[in-house]
Symmetry: C2
Subunit: 199 residues, 2 copies
């Protein structure tokens, strides 16, 4: 089926409904019937877009990461030195994911637990998406001679990995602690990493 505007809207409506239901009931208790009712469409229409509940839930995470990448791109192309932008990007990735996770604090862990096997395959793609945006800025800093970067892709990967244990994918939302606490922790790590990059 071609991707008409109507089709895009329906897909978005299903994902919006899934976000609400996952926050309210968690993954296990959400059914495709609930989803149809919440989205205000027929059950069969959902199946035109998604093969299974798993696919819907993974698509909500995909969409979150797309939004994160859009935000990172914006910071990457904003004003400021490359070091400053890298620092803001590291802060942004952690706080964006933290804020998104708050809506579904009680159920996010349940979603990840249930989808862990399928989710693994998506995870690598998410990481690569972020790494590419970091690599852009690192390359710029390398060309300007202000950052000590031998391999922008490898360094970008190191930056993403070094901050990933503060994401709600690694620690449960409760384990992460308050936003202030997370902000303090990511600032320390970003300070160290960026200081380590500056010539």
């Amino acid at each position: 089926m071609p991707l008409t505007l109507e089709r895009v809207d329906t897909r978005a409506a299903i994902l919006d409904a899934a976000d609400r239901l996952l926050a309210r009931y968690g993954y296990q208790r959400m059914t495709m019937d609930d989803l149809a009712r919440e989205a205000g469409i027929g059950r069969r229409t959902i199946y035109l877009h998604f093969k299974s509940k798993e696919e819907v839930a993974l698509a909500t995470i995909d969409r979150t990461i797309d939004l994160l990448l859009a935000e990172l791109r914006q910071v990457a192309r904003s004003e400021g030195s490359p070091a400053d932008r890298v620092h803001r990007m590291l802060m942004a990735r952690i706080l964006f994911l933290f804020d998104r996770a708050q809506n579904m604090a009680h159920t996010l862990d349940d979603v990840y637990m249930a989808l862990r096997p399928q989710y693994k395959h998506h995870r690598e793609r998410y990481i690569q998406g972020e790494v590419e945006i970091f690599a852009e800025v690192l390359r710029e800093g390398q060309e300007l001679g202000v950052l000590e970067v031998d391999d922008p892709h490898a360094v970008g990967n190191a930056l993403v990995v070094a901050t990933s244990s503060l994401t709600p994918f690694s620690l449960s939302v409760r384990e992460l602690g308050s936003r202030d606490e997370v902000e303090r922790k990511i600032r320390r790590i970003a300070d160290l990493l960026v200081h380590g990059l500056v010539r």
Copy 2:
């Protein structure tokens, strides 16, 4: 019951047996009967030491972390500048856990999944144990004026958190990749972090 030498030996024998069985069968399929047989003792003797299978499995992880802490302490008190020791400690924590996880590559994920709720409470203690050893070396670097450290405990925590996504507790053993790959990744992160610390 007092902690006599015999009691310590029995406890160690149970944990050794549990390590072997967890590697062979995984957590779900291991029973207390298997454990008694493998350790060559009576089922009731096990219950003098551990209340449940969960307790045994958590105790095997506790023991692994105790060994890690012993290794870190050794590096912390070895020759070399504080920066050099911090670097070696970061490498050591990741490669030690990687190597330990290899014995049970097929079952470690299963153990963590099953014990996740109880394991959370232990995790904070593990992290604090490591942080204290890092803080010792950081304080030394601070006093010598060679490291830029305002708060040794907070910086130690940042170092541990920034490398934790490369542990088999965060990523499954398969996701971590080969030892060479892990070594390359941790070296990059350790380089950045330690470079970020040096005055």
